[in-house]
């Protein structure tokens, strides 16, 4: 589920960081720029792995500009990979799964579940009827699923906040920039406790 991705970037070291060792200033600036951010068609960057190469640096407008080639740990599961997560919510369209707290945008549509899986509107959960036995997919249960498709989405610039609207609300209304569609319709998949 994790890969190493090589990036090259021009990193600007502000004068305030000149007293810090260049190496550790670069590490901090790279992490500040990339950690926990989605790079389109590459994945969700986690943390700097190592710096492969850094140039001499050019002083421009008082700051040092350094060309750096480095490797990041990136969350990018491949198609067909099996992952485990926990069910965070269920709707009639399918199940939303979160991986710890770091990735929330996995969706398993109803069509991608076992044959005979129905949404129970009263309980608001999905139920798999297997030869007369009902298996419930409760919230927070551990679920194993297969990665089917991934979507990257370019974010539009954010509109100014409306009166009374907080930053958090507008953040929640945005479509995720990276989300994954999963499936669980093969024996061995579905809730971990079933097998």
């Amino acid at each position: 589920m994790f890969i190493l991705t090589t990036f090259s970037d021009l990193i600007t070291i502000p004068p305030a960081l000149f007293r810090v060792r260049t190496r550790s200033a670069l590490e901090d600036l790279i992490n500040a720029k990339y950690a926990n951010k989605v790079v389109p068609n590459t994945g969700l960057c986690i943390a700097l792995y190592d710096i492969l190469k850094s140039g001499d640096g050019v002083v421009y407008k008082g700051s040092a500009n350094v060309n750096v080639t480095f490797r990041m740990i990136v969350f990018r599961p491949f198609k067909g990979e099996i992952l485990t997560g926990r069910i965070s919510s269920s709707t009639q369209h399918g199940i939303k799964v979160r991986l710890g707290g770091f990735f929330d945008d996995v969706f398993i549509p109803g069509d991608n579940m076992f044959e005979g899986t129905k949404f129970d509107h009263l309980e608001q959960i999905w139920v798999w009827n297997n030869d007369g036995e009902a298996y419930y997919m409760d919230k927070n249960e551990e679920i194993r699923f297969r990665i089917e498709t991934e979507f990257f989405r370019d974010q539009n610039p954010r509109a100014p906040l409306k009166a009374g609207e907080t930053d958090v609300e507008s953040e929640q209304n945005r479509a995720p920039s990276y989300h994954i569609l999963g499936s669980c319709n093969q024996s061995g998949l579905g809730l971990v406790s079933w097998w």
Partner: protein
């Protein structure tokens, strides 16, 4: 920003966890000298905390370099694909059904004895049963 190589190599969950722990230890060490414990970038702090929280509950938390190396060399005769071995290490299958989803066409590629042998190897290298119960405790 330029992506030089989108997929340089795969990492196991164990390697990621080890790297995060090392990074955290390094920042804490630096923090001791300056008296400032927080990591310098808030976003890094957040994602590391959340990811360590996730990985702590996966088999990677109990693995070691030696266990993975010995598994890799002893699993060679089964001729599995690299990504299949990667998933086996990350998922630690305990039974046939779990192994079957990780390895494509399992039953036509390996005989019944070989499957048993492979599951035994996984158990031997990465242990298992006991920390399944631990998770239930965490949940409560």
């Amino acid at each position: 920003m330029k992506v030089v190589n989108a997929r340089d190599s795969f990492l196991t969950n164990y390697e990621v966890l080890a790297h995060l722990n090392a990074t955290k230890a390094k920042y804490e060490e630096e923090g001791k000298a300056t008296g400032n414990h927080a990591m310098k970038a808030g976003n890094l702090e957040t994602v590391m905390m959340e990811l360590r929280d996730y990985l702590r509950h996966t088999p990677s938390a109990t693995q070691s370099d030696e266990a993975i190396e010995s598994f890799m060399s002893r699993a060679a005769p089964f001729q599995l694909e690299k990504v299949e071995l990667l998933m086996i290490i990350n998922q630690r299958p305990k039974g046939l059904a779990e192994l079957d989803v990780l390895v494509e066409e399992l039953e036509s590629r390996l005989s019944e004895e070989q499957i048993e042998e492979l599951l035994g190897l996984v158990r031997e290298c990465f242990g298992g049963e006991e920390d399944g119960g631990e998770m239930e405790v965490d949940e409560a």
